[in-house]
């Protein structure tokens, strides 16, 4: 019985570290961006939409280190969400990580040599199968929707 308790305590400690790893492994892979859609809102009302098909591809690598997982990308242009938040701007290296609770967030980040960091968060929608939508949102000062960027991706 003593051995059983010790074994369980070891397993418990190990498993508590594995949740983030599980989500990271699940999310890593190469994604085709089938649609890149920008939605512009005026006082919370949709006013304009720009949609680009076959926007390129992005690879989320699992470097087995949280959070410093690298990416490779072959995108048509720098996505507006990245440009707005400073991620990947001026050729900065981009990394990614997800959360430890439910794996429904995808964070991209860059860091300058000076130590200045840039971050942005996508919410992952319908992410159970190979297809998913990565959604980024901006609001105006009164809290209403201003901009939504949706990446419709398919894992290869």
């Amino acid at each position: 019985m003593k051995k059983l308790i010790i074994l369980t305590l070891i397993a418990l400690t190990t498993l508590s570290c594995m949740k983030e790893q599980k989500f990271r492994r699940k999310l890593s892979g190469v994604y085709e961006i089938q649609e890149y859609r920008q939605e512009f809102y005026n006082e919370g009302e949709l006013s304009n939409t720009i949609s680009i098909s076959d926007f390129g591809s992005i690879g989320l690598y699992d470097n087995d280190i949280n959070p410093y997982n690298s990416i490779s990308e072959n995108l048509d242009t720098l996505p507006n969400s990245w440009a707005q938040t400073g991620v990947g701007v001026n050729g900065l290296t981009v990394g990614w990580y997800t959360d430890e609770v439910n794996g429904e967030t995808l964070n991209f980040f860059s860091e300058k040599e000076s130590g200045e960091s840039f971050f942005m968060t996508f919410t992952i929608e319908n992410g159970r199968g190979k297809n998913a939508e990565w959604v980024y949102v901006e609001i105006n000062p009164s809290g209403k929707l201003k901009y939504k960027e949706i990446w419709k991706v398919r894992k290869q």
Partner: protein, 261 residues
Amino acid sequence: MKKIVSLFILSLFAIGLQAQESNLEAFGGALIGSTNIGSFKDFAKSYNEYIGSSVEKELPGLGFGVGYQYGLIYKIDRDVNLGFSLSYLTLYSRAAADLDDGSKRIFRHKYYTPLNGGVFFRSNYLELHLRLGFSQAELESVSEYPDGFQSYGKERTLNGVYKTFGLFAGADASFRVPITKKLSVRAGGAFYGVSGSDYNDPNWYRDVDLNGIYTDYLPVAYGEYMELAAQNNLTLYDTENVVKLKGIYYYAFINLSYIIY
């Protein structure tokens, strides 16, 4: 974590098979209980005060949650009214504020005990179950927009996923109504105490050296927090004045229990 509990259950089962006089009972059922975390209630109050007239329905506390529990009770000798238990329980609750721009601020809370051992006393139809173990809680904070989209993104302060960890100690008292020789219904109530630390979002705003750059907790004094954030002075916020799981809670339960051997 459920794998660990299952592993334990299988081990108890195997050990039990070797002991002829032993007794193994499985139980499981629904529960309803308070998840009214005091410091979250304080956070909600300060949040409501801060956003003032732009709230249509104020953010309440986490109130009651519903959930389930299951486990095993093992007795080395079936004639002795003392046993050991292993169980898992979880409670889900939710709190939301409606804002006048048509959006909502939603908090979804999940409290659970990854590993929970106990001692079980029985006297005729009355039972007492003392439990001790680990506890964990997760708090999702999302903004829901009028089109129904729920965002974890940082366009709004405190969106994200928070978690905390603590120790659990509790006592259940219940009465048992036998249905058949092996099957019975058990109903009762329980109190439990949790030593919880801060809820924090470990995956937000870290640099590549894993250091947190910005605060990643839920502030109890939301107004003060927002003022400091506006001045880019968040380091001045008292990091002790944040939402913590710590407290004493209670729940009522109804279980079905079955004597395996």
